[in-house]
């Protein structure tokens, strides 16, 4: 295991409100990591910083063996470097089919002329098939993705993440609004992905986190409150205070 992502001493101010306060997190590859914390703890802002949506006021975000800073890169460059993100609300392109959604996400050259002239590549169909098998949507490939159920949209979005073949997956509340059976399948997909890559899951649901069976980072008021196994952090007095509200 080597460090893939290193966030150190990062702070962000939103009009005087410190959303992130001197935050430091390290993610190894491969690794599964759960990030938990109450509302407003800075979980989503943390993802925004790593993916380039928000620029921090101070601190460093270092990526990969070559220790590149992600702060000078824009969203698409960061995505191409190998960081994929799944949003809290499922955001697939509803007007297009499941296949089109996956093909768009497939790891391929991303410049307009590449996309215009090399239409997908020869193995595209095989790769689409492999991913749709993984997320259980092979039967729905030619369906408009707007017609999928909420859970299926979540899976499609995870499938699009896998299609990008990223080294780091940032997954925001993947199990929100899912039935118990769907949750189980989602856990399986994520655990499988974490065998070869780094997966960071932001989640509210403790039961879901328990099933992931991984290292947990607890955020509170924009910085790390505790880190370790789920049992370890749930015994931590500070964590209990924060979650139970003193």
């Amino acid at each position: 295991m080597s460090t893939l992502l290193e966030v150190s001493g990062v702070s962000v101010n939103f009009d005087g409100f410190k959303a992130i306060n001197n935050l430091s997190i390290q993610i190894a590859e491969p690794e599964m990591r759960a990030v938990i914390g109450p509302n407003g703890a800075g979980k989503t802002t943390f993802m925004d910083i790593v993916t380039g949506k928000t620029k921090p006021d101070e601190g460093r975000v270092i990526w990969g063996e070559k220790s590149v800073s992600l702060l000078g890169m824009n969203e698409s460059q960061i995505a191409q470097a190998g960081i994929g993100r799944k949003f809290q609300k499922p955001t697939v392109f509803e007007a297009q089919t499941v296949r089109e959604n996956i093909v768009m996400a497939l790891k391929n050259p991303r410049r307009p002329f590449d996309v215009l002239f090399k239409r997908g590549g020869n193995d595209a169909e095989d790769r689409v098939r492999a991913i749709s098998d993984d997320i259980g949507l092979t039967g729905a490939l030619d369906q408009t993705s707007g017609a999928l159920s909420h859970g299926q949209k979540q899976w499609l979005e995870i499938g699009m993440l896998l299609a990008q073949d990223p080294r780091l997956l940032l997954v925001d509340e993947p199990a929100a609004g899912m039935s118990p059976a769907e949750r189980e399948q989602t856990t399986d997909i994520l655990v499988r992905a974490a065998k070869t890559r780094a997966v960071v899951v932001v989640e509210h649901d403790m039961e879901f986190v328990r099933r992931l069976n991984c290292k947990v980072t607890v955020l509170h008021q924009g910085s790390v409150l505790a880190e370790g196994s789920l049992d370890h952090v749930t015994k931590n007095k500070d964590v209990v205070d924060v979650y139970l509200g003193r």
Partner: protein, 391 residues
Amino acid sequence: MQNTFIGKNPSVLWFLLGLSVFTVVVTLCSEALGADIISTSFLKTLGKTLCLCLVAIAMDVVWGYCGILSLGHFAFFGIGGYAIGMWLMYARTEDIVVASLQNATLPPTPDEVTTAIGSQIFGVVGSSDFPMIWALSHSLTLQLLAVVLVPGLLALVFGWLAFRSRVTGVYLSILTQAMTLALSLYFFQNDTGLRGNNGLSGLQNVPGLEAVSQATLSLWFFWGSAFALGAGYVLFAWIVSGKLGSVIRAIRDNEARVRFLGYHVESYKLFVFTVTAMVAGIAGALYYPQAGIINPAEIAPIASIYLAVWVAIGGRGRLYGAVIGAAVVSLMSSWFTGGAAPDINLGFYVVQWTDWWLVLLGLTFVVVTLFFPKGIGGVFDLIAKRKGDTA
């Protein structure tokens, strides 16, 4: 068949078939072939309509597919018209001047010829010097290049500045409209060297083809317009059907998400904006020789707004929708405003269509956007759905 371009885009085949049949029928009915069913002036109207259809599909790609409501594409159309108009005017004036100076006792020096051409062209604005902007007007090849390159470069620079700053939505529309207004004001100035509000005229006469009658010439332009429309349709269908089409539709629906997939959204927008601007320039270069005259009023912001209205009425996000919208609305517009539509006498008030057409168009636009957001093209969806139900 399933995976071929035509197999994926059945509308292309139908469109090309329809366009060919239309072209053949119009040709057979034209004055040039002796049949007197379609007058030369109506033939010109039809040819011009085809050019408007071409700029409308360009607008549909940039707006309906990529989500950029550009209110500047008719300006690119006008620039294309000016570019070809400059050569037409220069070359024809040169022919006339050379012919008239032949009878002079002393053979004219090249300087005298240039001055004579200059005073012929710029006399209306009280000048006889050639402005810099006309430097290439003697060459058909260079002006033809300008038809494509000037709108393309303008779109490239403007688009780069606007998209890079992540200006989107209504703000971008306002920005494109400001560009259009600035351009039309620039063209209005006498100092610009494009004959101010007089514009360029006599464009229906093509130098070197004086022997060809207007009836035949109009037919040639009609064929050229039909070919350009067909080629443009195939080009855009190809662009929007593949993965690039997928990406630009995704940009329309959720630009931020596309960024996180690793696509550089701005490059895609710039590509679409520039390519459509170039096609708009070509459409304009075919239109204005058929219209005979171009002046700065043609590229006023209102023209670009009309373009958006046509596409909305025809149906956004489908190429044939844009063609239908542009054809129906522009032909109706010339019927109503040309005085052919009978006035309605209400006794206390006479509804004159030349005045009331805009009201009718405005109402149609409101009704279509409120009740038929898919436009006229949406009717084809219903037909396809019925067929699917019965099959």
